[in-house]
């Protein structure tokens, strides 16, 4: 009874407080149109219709630019870069990021510039240009106040990957452990799984196969929760390789087959190739 009275009281206070404040102003027409285009773009991206996504994001960018909305325009440039990258148009993706990074508008938030620099680092690292990637990552970190922005965990993971690529295992482990702690604190399971996968990769490089398999399994559990099939394939492949290196060929093959099935289901060609290579190495 007491609970009911309390609930009624709370609801009445909420209603009264809602009525007591002024209604928010409606969005201007151009901004609303831009927002609709942005939402269309996001929907198309989710469907995998990259051309439709690109057209919608272009439209949103034009509308935000027409009303000098720096935040909206910067957001759309990031989205255009992402879609172009997915379409394999790396040069156009970089062009969109550069447009944002060189924007002189005072209304462009620093956080979005940091995001652009971070993505530039990701694209360069993916293309094998580690030197440029490191420079862009440094710039992104410079735009992230006291290393405490929303990007911090992602940037540390990327840095760990870069350091690991240079085979500096101790430094990579240090960064990955910091990233793991930060991502756990921020409750970001995707990046937490990434940190665990990097730590697993480091253990695998050191020949600590049992430790590596454990870390891959932990990452796998998180990636399954997040329903990220591409990452699941990476975890399975990593675990499979470590088991193969430890001489457990039968279990390794099971992991490789699971990875192959996942990669096939999402059309991940690179994943399929790696899984097949692991299976073939067993048969040799």
């Amino acid at each position: 009874m007491n609970q009911v009275v309390r609930a009624i009281f709370v609801v009445s206070i909420v209603s009264v407080s809602a009525c007591g404040s002024a209604p928010p102003p409606p969005l201007p027409a151009a901004e609303e149109a831009a927002l609709r285009s942005d939402q269309r773009g996001r929907e198309a991206f989710r469907r995998g219709d990259m051309k439709e996504a690109l057209a919608s994001y272009d439209d949103a960018l034009r509308l935000y630019s027409s009303i000098e909305n720096g935040q909206g325009a910067a957001t759309e440039l990031l989205n255009i870069a992402t879609v172009q990258y997915q379409l394999g148009q790396r040069a156009l993706a970089l062009q969109a990021l550069d447009q944002l990074l060189t924007a002189r508008s005072a209304t462009t938030p620093e956080a979005l510039k940091a995001e652009a620099a971070y993505r530039r680092a990701v694209f360069d690292f993916d293309a094998g240009d580690s030197a440029n990637a490191a420079q862009w990552l440094e710039r992104a970190q410079g735009l992230c106040p006291a290393g405490n922005c929303e990007l911090a965990g992602r940037m540390l993971n990327l840095k760990a990957r870069m350091v690991l690529a240079r085979k500096q295992l101790d430094a990579a482990e240090n960064d990955a452990k910091r990233a793991l702690e930060l991502n756990r604190r921020r409750n970001d399971p995707i990046e937490e799984a990434n940190s665990l996968r990097i730590l697993a990769d480091i253990a695998a490089h050191r020949g600590q196969h049992a430790q590596a398999v454990t870390a891959y399994e932990q990452a796998l559990a998180l990636d399954k929760q997040a329903a990220a099939p591409g990452k699941i394939a990476l975890d399975l492949l990593g675990a499979g390789r470590s088991l193969a290196a430890a001489g457990k060929t039968k279990e390794a093959a099971e992991y490789a087959e699971r990875a192959l099935r996942v990669a096939e289901s999402i059309g991940d060609e690179r994943g399929q190739q790696e899984a097949k290579a692991l299976l073939n190495s067993r048969s040799r």
């Binding site: 709370v10 935040q71 909206g72 997915q86 990434n194 699941i232």
Partner: protein, 247 residues
């Protein structure tokens, strides 16, 4: 020559008359003082008890002490102790001491939302003996308006969050229903049957209803203004729906 004649009849017994007048005046003043004293309960026997609190905030000398809403005494003294706490001495009319027991509690509360602060004594249990002179009584502060608002805020926040989730969920459901209908249209490569088309219209109009409800003041006050969102990209360059190898 005297101005008035001494043998005027009106001056006869003058000194006696003045004496009576002065006595009456003195008696009147004394009566007034006594009645004020009675009114102020100066002559009522009282018992002093005390409580100790961390802070003397909102407690003042002379503040009313009440029991079941009736005045039974007042705050007599506030003193800072060696431990930097505050010892508050209250005096209670002896008549009411029978209800102030060892397990009674003194509570500082506000009468109404903007009323005065008072010390309210909660009567103890019947079996417990009455509190004796100069004994300590338990004390607690009532939750202030600020604390109430804070509590209310804690209650309201999840409600607003739930409301947001409901609206978002409804929007997602309608969005996915819409997409399913669009996909069905693509698969059949022909116009949808009338029933499905009707269903689609219903879904669209429901979406419009939810949209307009979510824009309706005051609901819209509690819903964040929509903003363009950045497509996520993790440290592996992955974005949904692919999620793995970046390319």
């Amino acid at each position: 020559m005297a101005i008035l004649r001494d043998d005027d009849a009106r001056f006869r017994y003058l000194s006696r008359k003045i004496g009576i007048f002065l006595w009456l005046a003195a008696a009147g003043i004394a009566l007034t003082l006594v009645s004020i004293g009675i009114k102020q309960e100066l002559f009522v026997p009282k018992t002093t008890v005390f409580f100790v609190t961390d802070s003397g905030r909102d407690i003042v000398h002379g503040m009313a002490v009440k029991l079941s809403g009736f005045n039974i005494g007042k705050v007599k003294q506030l003193a800072l102790t060696e431990q930097a706490t505050v010892k508050v001495t209250i005096e209670i009319n002896d008549t009411y001491m029978k209800w102030v027991r060892k397990d009674s509690k003194a509570r500082l509360l506000k009468e109404g939302l903007i009323g005065d602060n008072v010390i309210e004594i909660a009567p103890g249990t019947e079996k417990t003996p009455a509190l004796a002179k100069d004994e300590e009584i338990g004390f607690e502060r009532d939750r202030g308006v600020g604390q109430l608002i804070e509590d209310l805020n804690d209650e309201v926040r999840p409600l607003i969050q739930d409301l947001r989730n409901v609206v978002r969920h409804a929007d997602t459901m309608l969005g996915s229903a819409n997409r399913n209908l669009e996909n069905l249209e693509k698969v059949t490569r022909s116009d949808l049957p009338a029933a499905v088309r009707g269903g689609k219209e219903v879904v669209e109009s429901s979406k419009r209803v939810v949209d307009s409800v979510s824009r309706t003041w005051p609901i819209s006050n509690n819903i964040e203004q929509p903003k363009a969102g950045v497509l996520p990209m993790d440290s592996y360059g992955a974005t949904p729906p692919q999620g793995g190898h970046s390319k």
